[in-house]
């Protein structure tokens, strides 16, 4: 095991991830994230992206190895406000009746003054474009608003590391575009798991590919995602925006009627 790593926001060392009573899903993972770095996490369904996030967040104990966030080891069950996890299902994360209550939930537990809390909450809502929706019941928000509400609830903790699990799922293109703009503007380190490779490409200069329990590639996004052989080997496809073509021929046209 490595000693404390004061330089990286996140440092996984020989990490094995798995659910209690099951064989490990990921084995012997090692990687670091620098402060403010945006990294994409790509892999097929069941590769273990969500499981890895739960381990980094300290919800799921590691089978082996260590996770450090901001140089301090993650202890399962300990509250670490410097890590924020945005869930794959927005509904799971929004458990308070109204938007404002949900976003305020976290800061309430940080022991801030009332004024500080309000200021932070307003800032987070504004950053996510949710001002004016404060009193809306959470389940009346649209899909995109729900997703942004989750991000606001994470941002308001002023984390150093945000883990985003499929942030663009079920969003239309306008919402997705807004989300990309929002995330691009963030100074926090981001780890973004997604099947939406175009989004990963726009957001993350660096990409990690996981499949069959291990890291298969870790490098510059355009090189990794552009590598047709690598992508095919792990059930992925090179994103359209990286394939050289001229807008013709590539599309399968069905013989209709």
């Amino acid at each position: 095991m490595a000693g404390p790593d004061p330089v990286s926001v996140l440092h996984c060392d020989g990490l094995s991830v798995g659910w209690p009573g099951h064989a490990p899903v990921l084995r012997d993972l090692s990687f670091r994230l620098a402060p403010g770095e945006h990294v994409g996490l790509v892999g097929p369904n069941g590769a273990g992206k969500t499981s890895l996030f739960h381990t980094i967040a300290g919800v799921l104990p590691a089978h082996a190895g260590s996770v450090q966030v901001q140089g301090r080891a993650v202890v399962p069950g300990q509250f670490r406000p410097e890590t924020a996890l945005v869930f794959q299902q927005a509904e799971d994360q929004l458990f308070c009746p109204t938007l404002i209550e949900d976003v305020t939930f976290g800061p309430r537990n940080l022991g801030l003054t009332e004024a500080e809390t309000t200021a932070r909450v307003q800032a987070a809502l504004a950053q996510c474009g949710l001002t004016g929706l404060e009193d809306r019941p959470v389940h009346h928000l649209s899909g995109g608003e729900k997703r942004r509400a989750c991000i606001a609830g994470a941002l308001v903790m002023q984390p150093d590391l945000m883990l985003l699990d499929e942030p663009s799922a079920a969003l239309d293109l306008r919402q997705r575009r807004r989300l990309i703009a929002l995330l691009q503007g963030m100074d926090q380190a981001l780890l973004v798991a997604s099947h939406d490779l175009e989004l990963v490409l726009e957001l993350c200069p660096r990409v990690i590919v996981i499949d069959q329990g291990r890291i298969c590639a870790d490098g510059p996004a355009r090189r990794v995602l552009g590598d047709a052989g690598l992508m095919a080997a792990h059930g992925q496809e090179v994103p359209h925006s990286l394939t050289p073509h001229h807008g013709v021929g590539h599309v399968h046209v069905r013989n209709s009627l």
Binding site: G77, F79, L110
Partner: protein, 234 residues
């Protein structure tokens, strides 16, 4: 015996369990326990029964520790302030014997079935469709809803949710949002069910009981009545 239908198993379990529950004296208890063991062996369910007997065994242990100390006038032995009483001891033995026999029989007959088959058995026993449909849907979504509740608890703890009794109101909030989601989901579910003709088709007829099943049920009734008769005359 493995091919006994869920319906026949449910009838067998009910008949034997009530027969055993009717025992009031200690004399037939060994016979009852032997019968239970026989059923377990006949259905090849030894391992399942052993695995799931732990909770009932603990309960029985608790009863046998407490009852002999607090009930009955006849003191068998006195250790300081603690008196061991005969009637309590008898009561504990009776309860323990009945409980273990009934649990063993029900486990042997029913625990090897999938819960869905069990509900099919209930339907074949003419339990109202409203209840069996409720049971099927509950079984179908139990795992998903449990996982949902667990994820919501994780989401709370990740944002520094309180612990201990002060978390009760948060717990209520989580439950409320689960109920709201369940309501929304049930609307989609109803659409899905109706679109595939829920309630349009004929009620599926349960296949008639096979001969060996009738025989087994008759045998079980005779055994149960026999046990009760022996219990009353001994």
């Amino acid at each position: 015996m493995a091919e006994t239908s869920p319906r026949a198993r449910l009838i067998l379990a009910l008949v034997l369990a009530f027969g055993f529950a009717a025992v009031q004296g200690l004399a037939v208890l060994p016979l009852v326990m032997a019968l239970a063991l026989g059923v377990v062996l006949a259905f090849g369910a030894g391992r399942v029964v052993l695995r799931r007997m732990r909770a009932p065994l603990l309960l029985v242990l608790g009863l046998t520790l407490v009852l002999p100390l607090i009930s009955g006038p006849t003191v068998l032995a006195q250790i300081g302030p603690v008196a061991l009483r005969l009637e309590g001891l008898q009561a504990a033995a009776l309860i323990a014997g009945r409980l273990l026999s009934i649990v063993a029989v029900t486990l042997a007959l029913l625990a090897t079935l999938s819960p869905f088959d069990l509900v099919a058995g209930l339907r074949a026993l003419r339990v109202p469709a409203l209840m069996t449909d409720l049971a099927l849907l509950t079984l179908r979504y139990l795992d998903e809803v449990t996982a949902e509740l667990r994820r919501a608890a994780v989401a709370r703890s990740l944002r520094g949710g309180k612990r201990g009794w002060r978390a009760l109101p948060d717990h209520a909030l989580g439950l409320a949002s689960s109920l709201i989601r369940a309501q929304a989901r049930s609307e989609r579910l109803w659409a899905a069910m109706r679109l595939r003709g829920y309630g349009m088709g004929p009620e599926p007829d349960a296949p008639p009981l096979q001969n060996f099943e009738r025989l087994a049920i008759t045998g079980a009734v005779i055994v149960a009545l026999g046990v009760i008769w022996l219990d009353r005359i001994l």
